[in-house]
């Protein structure tokens, strides 16, 4: 109704009004607008009422308690930045952070490379090949990380599959210490995060212009050369996006490292857990949490700057 009136006013204006008419037109416009303001479009209120519950819920249940945790980090056991100094000053805490970053780097490189091979076949393979890799990537993706961690223990522990086979084959006399090492932690996390790296990679590969590859082939480039000089650079944004996702997820990962590290290869998130439930040192746990949030926030900001095209499905 209001829309129709405004249209009428503007059509009146366009008919070619004199100066005196202009005042009346402006008055009519003001009247139409103020009528709109007096009887507000109720969809705005509906919209606000619809958004409010979730925003309030998260403010109470998530944001306020997080501020509480942040307060712990500067008040427990006494007021000050002492806990943050320990992050670099305490050799144990510092070594945990160094290990965490080392594992993050290794996992990122390995899983992005592994995901690249999978995504390549998933996007460019024949129908059967696509189905097979899709199956191999989606089945683990939908299975609980507890089951998968248990699977790695079944493979790697002293009486597990690998050691049993090697012993039966007479290759080793005593079981190899494969589980409860940084090695098993890296394998376990890589296994969890590889599927997450596949999706952005596949989406950037799908948007590669086939004609460019054809041109390279027509000009006589070998397969390997086409891959290194044309295909890989064209999917670089996908690689960056996948790497950041894997790195960020690894940084705060708790469950898989806690199981496969066996208390020996402790990462930052597990240190929080230990400091909360084994040797109560909540201030340090809170300080690590706040630091992790800051790191993840910085990395996510970088992700949205650099790799937005890869995430929303195209690097055109």
């Amino acid at each position: 109704m209001r829309l129709r009136r405004l249209t009428a006013v503007s059509s009146l204006a366009s008919v070619g009004a004199t100066d005196g008419d202009a005042d009346r037109i402006a008055a009519a416009g003001r009247a139409a607008r103020s009528e709109g303001a007096m009887r507000p479009d109720n969809s705005v209120w509906t919209g606000v009422c619809l958004m409010a519950p979730l925003l309030c819920f998260l403010a109470i249940v998530y944001v306020a308690p997080f501020l509480g945790v942040a307060a712990w980090s500067v008040t427990l056991p006494k007021l000050g930045l002492g806990q943050y100094e320990r992050l670099v000053g305490d050799p144990l805490v510092f070594s945990v952070f160094v290990r965490t970053f080392r594992i993050c780097l290794i996992v990122t490189i390995v899983s992005v490379a592994a995901a690249y091979a999978i995504a390549y076949v998933w996007v460019r393979g024949t129908r059967l090949e696509r189905r097979l890799v899709e199956f191999c990537i989606l089945i683990p993706f939908w299975i609980s990380i507890l089951t998968r961690a248990f699977g790695w223990l079944a493979l790697l522990s002293n009486r597990g599959l690998v050691n049993s086979w090697l012993e039966a084959a007479g290759l080793i006399a005593a079981p190899l210490p494969l589980a409860y090492q940084e090695f098993s932690v890296v394998l376990g996390i890589t296994h969890v995060l590889t599927p997450f790296a596949v999706f952005p990679l596949a989406s950037s590969m799908r948007s590669v212009d086939e004609r460019v590859l054809l041109a390279a082939r027509g000009l006589g480039a070998s397969r390997l050369r086409i891959f290194w000089r044309v295909f890989l650079p064209m999917t670089a944004s996908g690689v960056v996006g996948a790497a950041l996702i894997v790195f960020v997820f690894t940084l705060g990962f708790f469950v898989t490292p806690a199981i496969l590290g066996g208390g020996r290869s402790i990462m930052a998130a597990e240190l929080v857990w230990l400091r909360m439930f084994q040797s109560p040192d909540w201030g340090l746990g809170a300080a690590i949490s706040v630091t992790l949030v800051a790191l993840v926030g910085a990395l996510m900001a970088a992700l949205f700057r650099l790799a937005r095209p890869a995430l929303i499905g195209g690097s055109r």
Binding site: S43, G47, L58, E129, S144
Partner: protein, 266 residues
């Protein structure tokens, strides 16, 4: 014409695929071991660990608790997410991106941080009443709602992005009220997406462990919490048995979906 992957690419992808399936296959023989600890069966197969799943009431109890929490949490999460997404879609507020980012925080923040935050919240709530805070099914449900709602928001926003705004504008021009527009025009168009969001939310609650671990101790033992005890605290081959059951269900569901699906995802 697309140049299909060469032998090197296929070999590498095959190796990675084997790596992805290996730990899932490895639990199968372990689940048939007659021993009480993690070892290979060595020619002697036994079903005692499957029997234990039925005989030990803890497993049934934790499965029922997980189902209950999953249903309640996903219902609340879907409702909150649906309302929020509809609001954002309908009025397109100036700070829409900021608000969506705010709502997605629990998905982006490291799970350990969410765990500590929710531990803080639920222990504070326990001081109000012991029945609704730390280590209660109600507390776990609230925590799960926080953790799964962002995923539901993402899925519903994606569904809404497919809706043609002109349909809504037409309804508005013909004088439909906001509620009529929601129930008669928008919701019928995103039905499928909302259903998928609810399913996803249920699934995420069903297997949530990172936060659950921090906010439960002895009373509210969900299935993943029970499995955690059988993997982390001591190695119990019954976990292999329940894992095999879950793997079989997941595989059947996925194969069924792939068989039903006519066109390719790619």
């Amino acid at each position: 014409m697309i140049q299909r992957p060469g032998p090197i690419a296929l070999l590498l992808a095959g190796l990675v695929s084997a790596f992805m399936l290996a730990p899932l296959l490895a639990v199968v023989p372990i689940s048939f071991t007659p021993a009480r600890f993690l070892t290979m069966p060595h020619g002697h197969l036994s079903l005692i660990h499957y029997r234990e799943l039925i005989d030990d009431p803890d497993w049934a109890r934790s499965i029922l608790l997980s189902l209950r929490i999953g249903v309640v949490a996903s219902a609340i999460a879907t409702a909150l997410a649906l309302a929020f997404s509809l609001g954002v879609w309908m009025i397109q507020p100036r700070f829409a991106a900021l608000m969506v980012g705010f709502v997605l925080l629990p998905m982006i923040a490291p799970p350990i941080v969410s765990a500590m935050t929710l531990y803080f919240f639920l222990t504070s709530l326990s001081e109000v009443s012991g029945a609704i805070g730390y280590d209660t099914w109600f507390g776990v449900t609230i925590a799960h709602v926080v953790m799964i709602t962002p995923f539901a928001v993402v899925m519903i926003l994606v569904a809404l992005a497919q809706v043609d705004r002109r349909i809504d504008l037409a309804a508005r021009g013909l004088g439909a009220s906001a509620l009529q527009r929601i129930f008669k025009v928008i919701l019928p168009n995103i039905r499928f997406g909302v259903m998928m969001a609810a399913l996803m939310a249920f699934f995420l609650s069903w297997e949530e462990i990172g936060v659950t671990l921090f906010i439960t101790s002895v009373n509210a033992i969900t299935l993943p919490r029970l499995m955690w005890m059988g993997v982390h605290d001591n190695i119990d081959p019954a976990v292999a048995a329940i894992s095999v059951v879950l793997i079989v269900i997941t595989t059947l569901a996925l194969v069924g979906r792939m068989a039903l699906q006519r066109e390719e995802i790619v």
